[in-house]
Symmetry: C2
Subunit: 328 residues, 2 copies
Amino acid sequence: MEKIKIAIAGYGNLGKGVEMAISQNKDMELVALFTRRDPKTVKTATGIPVYHTDDAAAHKDDIDVLILCGGSATDLPKQGPEFAALFNTIDSFDTHAKIPEYYAAVDAAAKAAGHTSIISVGWDPGLFSLSRAYAEAVLPEGETYTFWGKGVSQGHSDAIRRIKGVKNAIQYTVPVESAINEVRSGSNPELSTRDKHLRECYVVAEEGADKAQIENEIKTMPNYFADYNTTVHFITEEEMARDHAAMPHGGFVIRSGKTGFDSQTPQIIEYALKLGSNPQFTSSVLVSYARAAYRLNKSGSIGAKSVLDVPPAMLSPKSGEELRKELL
Amino acid sequence: MEKIKIAIAGYGNLGKGVEMAISQNKDMELVALFTRRDPKTVKTATGIPVYHTDDAAAHKDDIDVLILCGGSATDLPKQGPEFAALFNTIDSFDTHAKIPEYYAAVDAAAKAAGHTSIISVGWDPGLFSLSRAYAEAVLPEGETYTFWGKGVSQGHSDAIRRIKGVKNAIQYTVPVESAINEVRSGSNPELSTRDKHLRECYVVAEEGADKAQIENEIKTMPNYFADYNTTVHFITEEEMARDHAAMPHGGFVIRSGKTGFDSQTPQIIEYALKLGSNPQFTSSVLVSYARAAYRLNKSGSIGAKSVLDVPPAMLSPKSGEELRKELL
């Protein structure tokens, strides 16, 4: 069998996760890593060839799908359209408010070049978006609730690290169990920001720093923490390294709807993730959609797509016959 | 806006549920019911015109999608291909072992007529199939577990009713909570039939019937009960009418996978349904896929499909722009 040739752009947690995920998918092979660093300084876990990002165009005919593993803040807005002109692409663009604009830019580049680009792939946006879309279509009358965690928020962790006297910090977003159970009961509660999530902070303070002052600065920080019940724990560097190196995450999408002429019959759809490693899971989603991008492009379906546009069968290495027999 | 014209074939619980679901979907209208009974004897809740099934062909140009609400045992194997020759169709064919054969028959009829037929729609097969397919594609290494209930099994209820001395009976399939929690822990247990589900039976005995004998016959019935932990409760006709008229159901699909080079990082995907009314929910799924069948046919995609072939966006009344903005 001819394998699907995959390349990675960027070798952070996500790029490394893609390398791992490819090893679990026998119909794919990893043929290149593109980096903005000096390629000679980057050693990959599986020894795949490393090239500089600026040389990507030279490899355009050797790669079926390029998986973009950069960040949404500065990398993807530029790389998304640029690489869509050269390759079929997958990315995990997750700045929700800017998705329409990003979609348009990638769509134009991909269509002009005859490529297929699936944007905003991962779990939110991604699998959670699918879950919301299916549940809302099936139960038009109702409410959808999304809870995140328990898991690390990079943005909130960074915000704490910028406080004077903080040496290192990590922040977990924690869904409020009682709120989830209220939603599961079908009562369709109105939940404020504070009702849905707690914020747990683990902070390594610099020697001699004013801990009370740090705690106060965290808890009163607008947007990030002021609207939440926040707890702050001061720990040592050793504890940080020992207890907080894993990157667990997860969450819940719950649609609480009602059916019947009187819209009185409760119907609950729940989708939940409990992830041992957020980047490894996200990468696994990216890789399954790389298979879909390859197939969509072969079938002549070009331009930008989201997970909402992709038939589920396209993600699977199995044939339509196998899927109908084994999974339907 | 031109509404999508929907018709129903069969006016049992499922057909009535479709009538209710259409009332929640403003882009659709119900234009006909086909029945094998004398149309004059069938009164619909919303007063839609009733025709005899034999006259369906006369209405072929007035209906965008026909939703087949018959049973899988005898109705659909015949009706599926017959109606696919006349209309775009949706059905809930759920005899898992015969799906490949049914698919082929419907596909041939639909393709010859230029129609689109989505088969085996509902929640299992249906939404549970989707959940299994997505989860397996994203986590290729792992195990998928499906639990059903708590809910009524028509087949098991009927089996009890056939026992001598039984006036009425209802059987609930109940998932074993401890087994679900073991799966959620990521331990990938091997679970026997008996480990996963209990069977709870509520029986109205005829006057003077031998209850001990009935209970024994139920508990030792091969295939249906012998392999399960089964409890039997004798109740009165009044209790049956009062406590067992609702048709709740539900279930869980859990994929417990591992990622990483060593396949050691646990990742759990769980999809759960808690349904106040099984037929009303199933009907709601059928109606959302009727929208997709209409659109697929308009776009030239003909033949038999399953839920695995349908892009999720096609189920929603919202445009691609709206979906990307609101749900992605």
